[in-house]
Every structure is written in C-alpha cells, then in structure tokens.
Symmetry: none
Subunit: 432 residues, 2 copies
Amino acid sequence: MSNEQQSIKLSLLLTGNELMSGDIVDSNSAMLAEALSPFGCTIYYKATVGDDLALLEQEIARIAGFSDVLVVNGGLGPTVDDLTAQALANVMRVDLLEHPQAMADLEQWCKSKNIAFNAANKKQAILPDGVGLVPNATGSAVGFSAEINGCTVYCTPGVPSELKTMFSEEILPRLPLDSNAKVKRQRYRVFGMGESGIQERVFKSGLKLPKELELGFRASLPMLELKLQANHEQDYALLEHFSEQVEQLFGAHIVTDDNRSIAHVVKDLLLAQSKRVTFAESCTGGLISSMLTELDGASGVFDAGFVTYSNEMKQKMLGVEEATLIAHGAVSQAVVEQMLSGALDRSGADLGVAVSGIAGPQGGTTDKPVGTVWVAWGSKSEIKAHCFYFPVDRKRFQILVAALGFDLLRRELMQVNEEAAYFKERSLKNKN
Amino acid sequence: MSNEQQSIKLSLLLTGNELMSGDIVDSNSAMLAEALSPFGCTIYYKATVGDDLALLEQEIARIAGFSDVLVVNGGLGPTVDDLTAQALANVMRVDLLEHPQAMADLEQWCKSKNIAFNAANKKQAILPDGVGLVPNATGSAVGFSAEINGCTVYCTPGVPSELKTMFSEEILPRLPLDSNAKVKRQRYRVFGMGESGIQERVFKSGLKLPKELELGFRASLPMLELKLQANHEQDYALLEHFSEQVEQLFGAHIVTDDNRSIAHVVKDLLLAQSKRVTFAESCTGGLISSMLTELDGASGVFDAGFVTYSNEMKQKMLGVEEATLIAHGAVSQAVVEQMLSGALDRSGADLGVAVSGIAGPQGGTTDKPVGTVWVAWGSKSEIKAHCFYFPVDRKRFQILVAALGFDLLRRELMQVNEEAAYFKERSLKNKN
C-alpha cells in the first residue's frame, strides 16, 4: 500500500487583455499556487488569453477536458470586455439569465458601500443558467461554478484581494484535496543577508542537506524567505532536525517563521514589553512611520513620528543644533543622535530610530556617496549609531533603510548580543 | 487595397516547476509584451507548464499549430529538469546532438567567468539537430530556434535579465513586425471615480464610441487608468476627436495622461509654482509624506511632515487645543483645521493637508463608522475641510485617503472650480 496519493489536476485559465499587453504582471497564479501548496498540490496547467470570446470558450472546453478543477480568473467585471459568463454559457450551451440571489447580494453590496446600483453593475449578476454562486466577501464581482464533463469550473474575480479571499474561504474548502498533505515546509524570513550570503554560510558551516530535503529562496523585499521542504511523511523528522540546524546557523538573522512583516514583528515585541516607539526620519520621509501605522493596533505602541526633511526642520522639530549641522552635515552621527534624542523627548516614547542619508540620485559626495545613511537607535539611556551603505536605487534604498531601522529595534528588544552580518557587510567607513 | 496589416500571432510557452508552485511570479511575460507593444503586437496566447516532458512536447506542437511565432521560455539550464531541448527534438523528430559552435561559445563564456566547464554546463550545448543559435550576451544558457510547420519557435532562457537582452537584441529584429506600428493609444489616469462610475458618465453623456476605437480600464490604485485605442492609422483622427471628448467629459478628474503618480503630479505643480507643502497625518500615519518623498527631488517642495497619531501629540506637535479634542473628538472638522494650521505655522509651507479618520478595523462608532475621515487642505489664508467616507479595508483606506489629500491639493493648485464627483459620492453626513 502506497503512502502517496495522486494529487488533483487543477488548472488555471487567466483572461484579460491587460495580461497580454504587458500592462500588468500576473501575481494571482503565484497566490493560488501558494494557497494550494500546503496540500501538496501544484498547478497542473495554465493558459492565458485576452478578452477574446471564441478563444476563451475554446480554452474553457479544452482545459476542462483534461483537468479535475479549472479556475477561470478575470473577466467578471461590469464592462463589455468582461466575457467570462458569456464564454461559460456558450460552453455549457445554456442562456445567460439574471440570477436572483446574485442580484439581491449585489444590490445589498452596492447599498452598503454607498455605490450606485446601475446597469453596468447589474451585468455582474447575469450568469449562465444553472451555475452555483461562489460568494465574494470583499467585492462586487460575482463568483460562480459549474460542472463541465466532470471538471468543476470556478469563475473568479481578477482583483487580487477579491480572489484571495474567495479562493481561501470559498473554493479551497470545496476542493477534493488531500487533507493529510505529504509536503511539509519550514519557512524563515531573514533580514540583512542575500541568497549568496546565505548559501556561503551554509557551505562554510559544513551543513550538508540530505537529498530528501529541498532548500529554496524567495525574495520578499526587504527580507529574503528561506524554505526547507520535505516531500514525504517519512522525512518529517529530517526536516525538523535540519530546521533546528538552520535556526542555529542564522540565529537572530531570522526575523520570523511566519508571514509577518518586519514592522509587525517589532510591533508585537513592543506590545509584549509595553513599550512605545517613535521615529525621526529624513531620507525615508515617513516610510518608517507608515510601515508601522499600516498595521492594525499601531496606536498601542506609537504616538508620533517626525518627518524632518530639511535642516531647518531638524532644528525646529527635534532640537538638532545648528552648529552640529554646520560642523558635520545632516548625514552624520552627531545629527542622527540629536534627532533621536529630540524625538524621544518630544514623544515620550521608550525607544526610537532616527535616519539621515542620501537616497539619491542626486546629493552624493566623495566622502558620502549616494547610498550612505547614518542610523541612530535605542532609548534615552543608551543611543547607538552606525553608518551603513546601500548603493541601490532610491526606492530600494528607502525600503532597506526603513527595514534596517526596524531590525535594529528588534535586536534591541530581543537583547541580541551577536552583531548582525550587515554591520560588516553594509558599513561605510565612518566619515563624519 | 487595404490599409490593414494583420499582426503576427505570437504565443508564449513558459516552463518550470517554480512557476506552478508559486515560488516565483512570472514577470517575463509582461516584459516581452512591453517590448512588443510599440509594434502594435500583443501576445496572442500563453500557456505555462511544469517540468513535464510529455506536456511540454504536446504544448510546443499544439501552440506552434496556430501561431506564427512561439517563444518557449525556461528549461534551458544545466540541470536534469531543464527539458526544453529534449521536448523540441521530440516534436521535430530529430536527435539531440552536441552543437559545435554552441559548445565553443559556452567554453569561452565559462573561461571568461572563471566557471568550471563541466558536464552540467556542457549539457546546455546539446541541442536538437538542425536548430539555429540565438546568441545569449549575458548568460550561459544557449538560445536556439527552429521552424515547425511554418511557425518559428524560439527557445529562450528563464532568467529575466538574459531573456531581456536576448529578446530585444536577437529575436525582436528577426520578427516580421510591422515597423509602421498601427496601434495608437491615449491613456488617462483618473482619481475619484470607479470603473462603473466612468461608464455611467459616458453613457449618460450620450457619447457614443465608434467601433473603430477601444475603451479599456485598468486599476492603478489609487487611480483608475482609462485607455482609448485606435488599431488602424485611418482611425487616428477619430482617436484624437474622442480623446478630446473624453477630456471634456471627465475634466479635472483626469490627473494625468502619463505614468506619473498623483503625488508626482502634485510635486510638479508645486515646483512650477515655487510652493512648498506640509502634511499633518493621523490615520495615514506617514503615508502621505512618504508618497512625496519617494520621488526624486522632493526636497524642492517639502521640508517637514507631522505624524500625530495620539491626541496628546496633536496638541504638543501641532497646537491642537485640548478643549477642541474633548468637545469634538479627534475625527472632526475643528481638529483637522487646527492640525493643518499648526503644521503650516511650524513648517512655513504655503500649502498643506491634514487628515484624521478611522482606518479600522476597530474604533468605529455609530456616528463615525470605520472609514470616516475628516480632511483639511489649503493655505493659511483659506483652510477648507470636508468629511469623507471610505468603507474599505485598512490598507486601501489609507491609500485612498492619502491620494485624496494629493488630489485636493492638485485641484487647489490648478484652481479647479468644478467640484469633484467624490464630494457627492464619498461624503458622510457631517457630524462633528
């Protein structure tokens, strides 16, 4: 008797001219694949077509012919180029009819959102005769399903947030997936090391991954996701053993083993320790504050942020001394320390981060090239500062510096003694 | 004699397990589509399969059957799961042979990069008998092409940077593209109207789009992109005529006809008028400031932003009166007006925006449900305020409110008299 179960053949059919013209990058496929992966199910086949009724119709029929499940994505909106319902009706050889339940749901949705219930919106409730509804908790597009020659076809919205909720809450539970999934994964989010740096560290440690386990990487800017995977139940013990070894090898470079952002991890640490935080930002211009405040419950740990872009405002808002600015320049140890000190005083926070750097593309000098940033972090009783160097484009620079601020706080809150690898790898010789 | 030229049918076949497991998002398709679009060519059909020889073989034969050109992407690497050469050989019914030129190039490449020229690498030069080489300027994967039943098949590397160079430098010049591209597009980015609202306005106006023009929409949160397209040169005058009509119909709702963000448009207006701006943010928590400062040259228009999340910091940083907070609550007209006034005083900016709202999911009341936001905007001489209502999730709420702040400034800077549609559609009865 085999331990393995044949996985279902699940295929995808994406539709939309915007997918064929290069106007958007398809992220929905990866999202669905990720939702399926805990069940050891990968996508079997995927096709993408424009807003072309004949082609859409042909592909629904063809792919349904060799798949157990077909997820059609896109083409459910209110406009004339949304053709999925018509294509499915043609394949099923049924009429398009007003679906009373869908129409009632849609009217209710429009009402709740204060949106006009007009002809364009109503089109979304005109569906192939006989389909079942698939509720959409987050949008107006009506999802529906039908059986075609033994294949279950789900028609889903192209908007990623709507698809995500509909797929995980409505479709996934209906799929004949193996609930004793055989694939098991351990994921880690690492900050401050690249793929080659991680591989180098694994190699140098002498850690030999057995062939039963797979090691994978995925960029999840500003972090890197590291994945260890066992494909068979008999390898779970191996997975556990090597996960421990990986945890030891990377130590505090591992930010989390779940899906939280680095700001979220810091928010949780602050909450647990009943501490409050503040930020004084020059080159990140509000990004650090916004990464924290995008999280539900940020008010539990945060009162104020200071975006001091000009030198004058560093003085007025944070009490940085003019003499210090003149002597050392805005991108200097003395200035970030005074910025942090001022922010801690004014906000009454326990901890904080201050950053001042050169995001570019203009503003670099020989001593302080574009990519240079001074960061101060800590509390009134101990303010630390360091100069880092991220010679990347402006946007990436801001994201990395913001994440670095959170990582320094995280290490402080966790009382990590070991120095992060980026102190060595990302330092610019201190020239203030 | 027809003016029309049939565009070539160019299809894509992507291969790789990583595309089916969700480990990577496919950005190659959009990159190819973008390279093709100046020639009026969109991708006709796209399929994606895992590392499955039989499926790959079947799809090459099938898609070549209805395409003029088939670009196969991925599966050219040195490992055993790189199957493209074998699949193509099977379809062509020829053997795999060592290709002398490819082998020589590869040896040279390995030498120049100080990489071992081992069996794994050599595998990349073992190609179907009779194919032509397609040089790879940036990597070791060997590109090649063959004719199958009148379809030209190009096999290309999956690494985005290698594909990009190979496609633009080697493949594009060989394609039978119309160098006098016939497609012409006019794009508009609109803020404050949804897809159905736009269609409704078009419908009510009596504007009848001729069948020669295509109207398309694309979400580009926080804006909506509206596209008018003529597919033939003889329709360019029509396109121009209807573009003007669309511009009249939507007026100042059109933020831009290029790729700029709404913050970028405001930055350019501020620069042109030599004005400086400031932001006082509660519910957006720094997002407004960061949307401006992510732009190169923000320092030309911006000195300071105030992230006042708590009531106490609204008092300390901006001078909001305690009595006002007690009488009206933080989400009120009086408070946002005082926030803005304080921010203008302290920063010395000419213009500003202040926001205070309930991003949720907690914190709503009957009078002020989640999604309520008070916005103040303007200058010291005239501060305006209005209460809006965006009952959407926290992240979307913050993005919409931030963009709304920029849009109100934009209308102020452009001295638009006509009231934006969102004043009617997104207002909550004023209860402060």
